[in-house]
Amino acid sequence: MTPARLRTLALGALPPLLVFGVVVLLWHAAVTMLRLPAYLVPSPLLVAESARANAGMLLRATGLTALGALGGLALSFVVGVLVAFAFSQSRLVQRCFYPYAIFLQTVPVVAIAPLIIIWFGQGYLSVVLVAFVISLFPIVTNGTAGLTDVDPNLLELFEIHNASRAQVLWKLRVPNSVPYLVNGVRISSGLSVIGAIVGEFFASYGRDRFGLGYLIQATSGLLDTATLFAAILASTFLGLAIFGAVTLVGNAIVARWKE
């Protein structure tokens, strides 16, 4: 990275960091001045303390939740791309099944999760499936759009040169869909973390093995609000990390696609 790029990066990061600092200060001031009890709103110091004391547990939970989210994201990518292919190849297939894809999106994932656990039992698979259900839709819609929203001139160009259906698919539609898919995966990456945490509300991994979802529920039940805050922060960081990683990889892939 060049010094100039580092500088712009630092300048870009500065304002939000400043906001963060101000919010933490205000938070601390509010808690001490209003004498809020720790089970309602713990002070930032208390949260930091709890995070440090439970660092190992938090890290393990975050790791397990990350596995669930990434598993669901990977599965939704594979299935989503296959569904998008089917949709793009036949208008009829698309018309038959698209309403159900929307249905899948509108049913709240919290409502589906218990059903998935009834069908697939406790454990990793169920968490992955909940994350999969919530992150599937953006990949299907973006993938379908990428395969069908092709510049009409380009379709005519292929037609003029007597391209076969397979050539149009592999040399035009599939490359055209890449930026769309990257965008879909980026949207889904944030959703997959939500899905994994919701899944963990209902499904456990086994004795002494738990993710952030379980931790959030357990600590709220115990009124251990400081640890609850730490778990919420860990979920946020996990979401940001997965989103950031997907964005970085995506930008590298799409660099050539710029119009």
Binding site: N153, E156, I160, R256, K258, E259
Partner: protein
């Protein structure tokens, strides 16, 4: 015109339209009773305002759409059939229409690739075309790194890579600035002289038509008909200096008058 199609009925024209009509599904009549012959090796410019059906005529010749009336033949066959059997057509769009994920060289080679030619066979021809349009050193760059004029050059190179007998151009330089447009006109005329294709060039620019073509066909507004045909009088000299000559201005004036006449 030494080889006017009317005086040589024995040799059928390369592109031949007889009473051609086109009514779109919405009921819009784009073309009515168009009769036009284009001889092999000719350069014909179709001039008319937007919406006069000149682009429609081009797409009919390309076999992208089918006429609703009259007859149209390319090399004695229906356009689509001619295209499929002869592999002899190329089209240049208003936009460069390049694949953004491909390098310049891979864009130029696309028609050969679609035709099933191997990489090694393609490379030599691609280099030849890049030399021809002066973009050899940009072979490995991507379209978004090029200027509008350079992208159009890539588009021209791609159209000519398969040695087409018939090149259809749909206002290819309409979006470019005047200086770039003039330079590309000179380049296209040079390519036509050296590569020996038949060109059908759609434009609304009278000067461009006069500079490029052997024959200028003036079209009337919707439904498009052919108002008149003018043979371009300056035989060989198509250098930038031509634009400053009084004959050039006189001819452009004549075309403009016909255009106005057609729109009254």
């Amino acid at each position: 015109m030494p080889d006017s199609p009317a005086s040589a009925p024995a040799a059928p024209a390369f592109v031949s339209a007889r009473g051609l009509g086109m009514v779109f599904r919405g009921g819009i009549e784009a073309l009515r009773d168009v009769t036009l012959d284009v001889a092999r090796g000719d350069f014909v410019a179709l001039v008319g305002p937007s919406g006069c059906g000149k682009s429609t005529l081009l797409r009919l010749v390309a076999g992208l759409i089918a006429p609703t009336g009259g007859e149209l033949a390319v090399d004695g066959l229906a356009p689509r059939q001619a295209r499929r059997e002869r592999h002899d057509m190329a089209f240049v769009f208003q936009q460069p229409a390049l694949l953004p994920w491909r390098t310049v060289a891979d864009n130029v080679g696309l028609p050969l690739e679609l035709d099933g030619q191997g990489r090694a066979a393609r490379r030599e021809r691609i280099d030849e075309l890049l030399d021809l349009v002066g973009l050899r050193e940009f072979a490995r760059t991507h379209p978004h790194q090029l200027s509008g004029g350079m992208r159009m050059r890539v588009s021209l190179a791609r159209a000519l890579v398969g040695r087409p007998g018939l090149l259809l151009l749909d206002e290819p330089f309409g979006a470019l600035d005047e200086i770039t447009r003039q330079r590309l006109n000179e380049e296209l005329r040079r390519l036509w002289a050296s590569q020996g294709f038949t060109a059908l060039f759609v434009t609304h620019n009278v000067f461009e038509a006069a500079f490029l073509a052997q024959r200028v066909v003036v079209m009337s507004p919707r439904p498009g008909r052919i108002a008149c045909e003018l043979a371009v009088p300056f035989e060989s000299e198509r250098t930038p200096a031509l634009r400053a000559r009084p004959e050039f201005a006189a001819f452009c004036g004549a075309v403009s008058r016909e255009l106005q006449e057609a729109h009254r």
